[in-house]
């Protein structure tokens, strides 16, 4: 993997941010962190662009699906958005909000890697 993707990782739990960051770094992603959906939305409002967003579901202030609805409404339709959650009912919530994919927690690198590779291939 030669290209460096811009990844936004959205999770309120520091352990999970650390683990998934490490995976994304191994996939040669340049990582920006957000601790909740509102911070993620603010990143886009500030004009930041990302190739991929990996987003948790249940977070304070603004949930993942809520943030995804807002991000898509801003016109960010090209960015790949992957929802992650340990919640059994999360996939429906994420896909309904406009996510492209869903990965159950704990996140496994062999599941996330093809999604990242797909974005690299498109770029």
């Amino acid at each position: 993997m030669a290209s460096s993707l811009k990844a936004l990782l959205v999770d309120d739990m520091s352990v999970e941010r650390m683990v998934v960051s490490s995976m994304l770094r191994k996939f040669h992603c340049e990582i920006t962190l957000a601790k909740n959906g509102k911070e993620a939305v603010d990143m886009f409002l500030e004009g930041n662009e990302f190739d991929i967003v990996v987003c948790d579901k249940d977070m304070p202030i603004m949930t993942g699906p809520e943030a995804i609805v807002k991000i898509r409404a801003m016109g960010a339709t090209d960015v790949k958005i992957v929802g992650v959650s340990a919640d059994d009912n999360a996939m429906e919530a994420f896909m309904g909000a406009g996510a492209d994919d869903f990965v159950p927690k704990p996140v496994r690198p062999e599941i996330l890697q093809p999604m990242v590779q797909e974005v690299i291939n498109k770029k």
Binding site: M13, V19, M23, A86
Partner: protein, 159 residues
């Protein structure tokens, strides 16, 4: 200073202890495959990654346990908040492979769903015991790992 180019008896013994200790964590159900995944992420650019992630978990989780305990003590009961707090603990625990903690969190969530406060209380006590045991075991494990030095830290060790 230990010369790692010529393994000594002490070094070999330490490595055996580390291997045995880690295997016991899996055999006794304290850790699952996710812990191996963390070790796969560890490399020469982040040689202490696993210890750092575990340290972060051990730093954050007491606060969550304390919040759960405080919330249990409140009236009227807020099972929604309790479920949310335990969900966070479950997520963090499963990220490091802490399977017993993860399972007890699932039991707690079931009690929340049933609005069973006494069940929540019992489950919390179990979670605290599991947490204390896991903390002690992992701290001993990393203490041993530090004794064998950077070579062991940089090499992935599978179960």
């Amino acid at each position: 200073m230990m010369d790692l180019s010529e393994p000594t008896m002490d070094y070999s013994n330490l490595r055996r202890q580390i291997t045995f200790m880690k295997k016991s964590f899996f055999d006794q159900g304290y850790l699952d495959e996710q812990f191996n995944q963390l070790e796969e992420l560890q490399d020469e650019s982040s040689p202490n990654f696993v210890e750092e992630v575990v340290a972060l978990f051990l730093k954050d989780s007491p606060r969550l346990l304390s919040n759960i305990e405080q919330t249990i003590g409140k009236y009227p009961q807020d099972f929604y908040r309790l479920d949310s707090l335990v969900h966070q603990l479950k997520g963090s625990g499963s990220s490091i492979g802490a399977v017993r903690m993860k399972n007890e969190c699932s039991v707690f969530k079931a009690h929340c769903n049933d609005r069973n406060l006494e069940g929540c209380r019992r489950s919390l006590q179990k979670m605290k015991r599991e947490h204390a045991t896991l903390k002690q075991k992992l701290e001993s494990y990393f203490q041993l790992l530090r004794q064998v030095g950077p070579r062991e830290h940089a090499v992935n060790s599978r179960k």
